[in-house]
Amino acid sequence: MNPFKLAWIYLRIGVMNELQYRVNFFIQLLQTSVALATGLIGLSLVFGQVDKLAGWTRAELLAVMGVHILMGGVIRSAIQPNMERLMNDVLNGTLDFALTKPADAQTLVSVREFRFWQLTDVLVGLVVIGVAVNQLQTGMDALQVLAFIAALIMGAVMLYCVWLMVTSIAFWVIRVSEIVNLFEGLYAAGRWPVSVYPDWLRTGLTFLVPVAFAVTVPAEAMTNRLTGETMLFAFGLTLLFAILARAVWLIGLRSYSGASA
């Protein structure tokens, strides 16, 4: 079955399910607001001391924060729930249900969970981005917007691939839930543009956990920093990650099916 159609089917079910719990919207909104408030306080503390941080102005850093929140919402609504369920399935041996369905297994395990109310973060992120773009005064032309959206999509795909690869380790190691903690910690690094970090850290944040590409590059698209080279590089990296992830998944799957008797 066509992966998009599959995703759409699961999305509808997930949304209908969660709409029952309207209170979750307010809880999520509150959590995000508290996180946003602390982020803004952090930002004002920084800009109480300096005018620019590693070459980024306050409005530009606000844009970075907005993208970070938005991407965080995408992760927590679409990527993380699926990966956590995958981990559980491998641990408990219930992955078989997914494997016996007439659809590509990777697609299935990647789209069947969706936490609707986490989209609140996407909304809040967009609002923050809007405020930041407004403050930037330079505005965004159509090409920039296109680049921004493309960068976001590529960033999300890269994060998904890395998540899938790490989760696939469960095929061999079984207990990977602690690694999720690491991931969440590392994603927090995306609050700031990658140029703030020392070189050695920057490499890790670009290739190991592509936070740099998920957050900084879209922010660069908005703030006139994006070069054609970076976009090309991002595209190449996305492709590389996608192929790697698919390979790791297939190998892991083979080992899983071989092991369960």
Binding site: V34, L182, L201
Partner: protein, 267 residues
């Protein structure tokens, strides 16, 4: 009294044995946790370097020292989550706890205390690694080390009181997420976890002196790395003791009301 010491030792022993079995999981958790202070450290060091080496009295080396000690204090601050009370009440484990001829909070304190012993041991190599990477400037006197050791346990006890009180709200309503999240947000800012309190605007610093938060986080760290005077060091310990006493008093009142509520409605 002897019986309580015996109980604490027995509970801590069990906790240590148990947590040692989970040392790998504990390690991963601690490693994931250092991301937060490292990010703060990097950002503030960048600012310091931009400003000619110092910001708010802290050099990058001083920031490194602050945030490395931060990692231990953060771990000492982890106590039974207020979200856990809902499960306790619902699952009935609270009923069984109430059958014991010892106040349930003693088990919480003892159990987590034992866990902290394991945490402290696991932390040492992590601290060594961070020191090697970030090159903090350390200038510690014996007095500071002693007060620090007292202060981290004081912080542990204060936070136990605070979060137990928070968790007990669950006895009256299960719609507690909003209150908890607000509390954690406030705590993040007012405790010294986000930045050293001395970098905050003056009015925030004044406010935080009257609240318990800074005594669970900022004070222990500063005791070790801040070059405080002997008078200030011991005055700080005094404040911690004050907050523990205040917390315990409020706790015993609220607890009695909570149990009355629980016994009326049943678990």
């Amino acid at each position: 009294m002897r019986r309580y010491i015996d109980y604490y030792l027995a509970s801590m022993r069990i906790s240590i044995l148990q947590q040692f079995q989970y040392r790998v999981a504990n390690y991963f958790y601690m490693i994931g946790m250092i991301a937060e202070p490292v990010i703060y450290l990097v950002v503030w060091s960048t600012i310091a370097n931009q400003q000619g080496g110092v910001v708010g009295g802290y050099t990058p080396g001083a920031f490194a020292a602050y945030y490395i000690v931060w990692t231990l204090v953060r771990n000492m601050n982890i106590v039974f989550t207020p979200y856990g009370w809902e499960e306790r009440i619902r699952e009935g484990s609270l009923s069984m706890d109430l059958m014991r001829p010892i106040h349930p909070i003693h088990f919480d304190i003892a159990f987590f205390a034992g866990w902290k012993v394991v945490v402290i041991v696991l932390w040492l190599p992590l601290a060594a690694f961070l020191t090697w990477v970030f090159k903090p400037t350390f200038d510690v006197t014996w007095m500071e080390a002693v007060v620090f050791f007292i202060a981290i346990w004081g912080a542990y006890l204060i936070r136990t009181m605070l979060l137990s009180l928070l968790g007990m709200i669950t006895f009256w309503t299960t719609r507690v997420s909003a209150i908890f999240e607000l509390y954690f947000g406030l705590e993040l800012i007012l405790s010294g976890r986000l930045v050293p309190m001395t970098l905050m605007p003056q009015w925030v610093q004044n406010l935080s002196t009257y609240l318990p938060f800074k005594w669970t986080f900022f004070f222990p760290i500063e005791a070790l790395v801040g070059g405080m005077s002997t008078q200030d060091l011991w005055a700080g310990v005094g404040m911690q003791i004050l907050w523990i006493v205040v917390g315990a008093s409020i706790l015993s009142v609220v607890w009695r009301a909570a149990i009355r509520q629980f016994s009326a409605v049943g678990g």
